[in-house]
Symmetry: C2
């Protein structure tokens, strides 16, 4: 195999499995090449990705060392993504009444999910999360992609406990969005006491759901290291969760003038 | 930019957005290179991926032509994935009673989701699906990844109609797994009459859910072009859906001997 081919194959393999560490030996065996050649290939691969802003190849030396791909989105591309989403959300036909917007097409768009997940992956890369947690349903695609980018398992908290979840722990919590007490439950098999968790969700109003996720995982001594939200409403100002990172803000939704106030969080990183 | 770097960048860009068509001009502009150089780069990129079995770069010429990446998994890698999943599923601690197995850790593992989705993407690549549809909750990660691989939007059918879904159409169907009548609903905004849909789900027993998805989407004249299932139980033999493709078969789950009969579908392609 020629150099150009090896470099390309290395980038394909690494970027397909972000944050997964490969030994240099893995590539030596795969290509039947010497360590020195692979080292040079990695150098080229790193420069290539950097020059087109498509991610970082990180090499750690030593016994447990290896090479891995870290997803990256530039400030500029992030701002473009945010503006594109704002544009879509400003469509007045999304207004459902009660201040709700139809967003399922956006949340269930795998391309949006991948890009938003890249933002969260960049933001939370060094938070040492061992799990990504979300609550069903609309946050699942973005949580899936974020878990993929960070190379950690996902915990999906259910609204109702299902027989297929085995033994579950349930809590009741107050949801401001539905203005009533709701239930969430998590499978005991899904949790690992003492581990660090990143919460990802599609929407936050008062923060009741996220607070609920924090509480239910807290029952198992899991530590929340960060919270990533796609859209946070500006109202109420006082939320049940202070420490969260949102991609977009949703302001006033005026059912009469059909105006939707939505804007980017420019301080995301 | 040198050739090796251009080839690597092309592979990264194409493989990050499978089944999305790029014009040659896009790369000419990005790299400031001539069309003839880019053509040669694409040739190298194609050979590279082929030689390591990591996907197909397809070029179509003419006015609407372009270049795109098509995900691929070899027969051998597919068999390895199937055997690995069988191995995991044979763990007797998964037995929940009533013939149910705990599978959430597998279905919510983004790495499994990506690989299984690659199998479905290869299987259904030429079925011209315009949507991937699933029913909440456990099939969503794999459906998300499959939609990503095929570059189509996803429709998530809900168990209950939610205010955030806008106007919905609901049906009642008989679920063999829960032995009762259940409800499913789909947002009218999510469907496009006359379009072709690929159904993806995590588990099928008698096929009641899949039949329900077919019926509810049929109400909007959507045509089901294929059905991909991760695990199909061998019982009952007579299912409500004949035409489906499963990755794995689940046979007898013996609660006394703790034996779980699970095996690969060797005829998947």
């Amino acid at each position: 195999m020629k150099r150009a081919e090896r470099v390309a194959a290395i980038i394909k393999i690494l970027s397909e499995t972000p944050n997964k560490s490969y030994s240099l030996n893995y590539f030596c065996k795969l290509f039947g090449a010497a360590k020195s050649s692979i080292s040079e290939d990695l150098q080229t691969a790193r420069q290539t990705l950097q020059s087109v802003n498509l991610g970082i190849i990180q090499t750690t030396s030593g016994a447990g060392g290896g090479v891995k791909y870290i997803p990256y989105i530039s400030d500029q591309d992030c701002a473009l993504l945010q503006e594109e989403l704002c544009e879509k959300l400003r469509d007045s036909s999304r207004i459902l009444g009660g201040g709700f917007l139809y967003t399922s097409d956006i949340m269930f768009d795998s391309n949006v999910a991948r890009q938003v997940a890249t933002v969260f992956a960049r933001k939370f890369q060094d938070y040492k999360a061992e799990y990504v947690a979300t609550i069903e349903t609309k946050g699942i695609p973005i949580a899936t992609m974020t878990a993929h980018m960070l190379n950690v398992p996902m915990i999906v908290i259910r609204r109702e406990s299902k027989i297929s979840e085995g033994s579950t722990l349930s809590i009741n919590y107050f949801s401001g969005s539905s203005d009533r007490v709701q239930k969430m439950s998590v499978s005991k098999r899904a949790v690992v006491p003492g581990s660090k968790v990143l919460i990802i969700d599609d929407f936050m109003r008062a923060g009741g759901s996220v607070k609920g996720i924090k509480d239910i995982l807290g029952e198992f001594d899991m530590e929340i290291v960060g919270t990533g939200i796609v859209i946070a409403s500006t109202e109420p100002d006082k939320k049940k969760i202070q420490d969260y990172c949102t991609l977009l803000y949703l302001g006033k939704v005026d059912e009469n003038t059909k105006e939707i106030e939505v804007y980017s969080n420019c301080q995301i990183f």
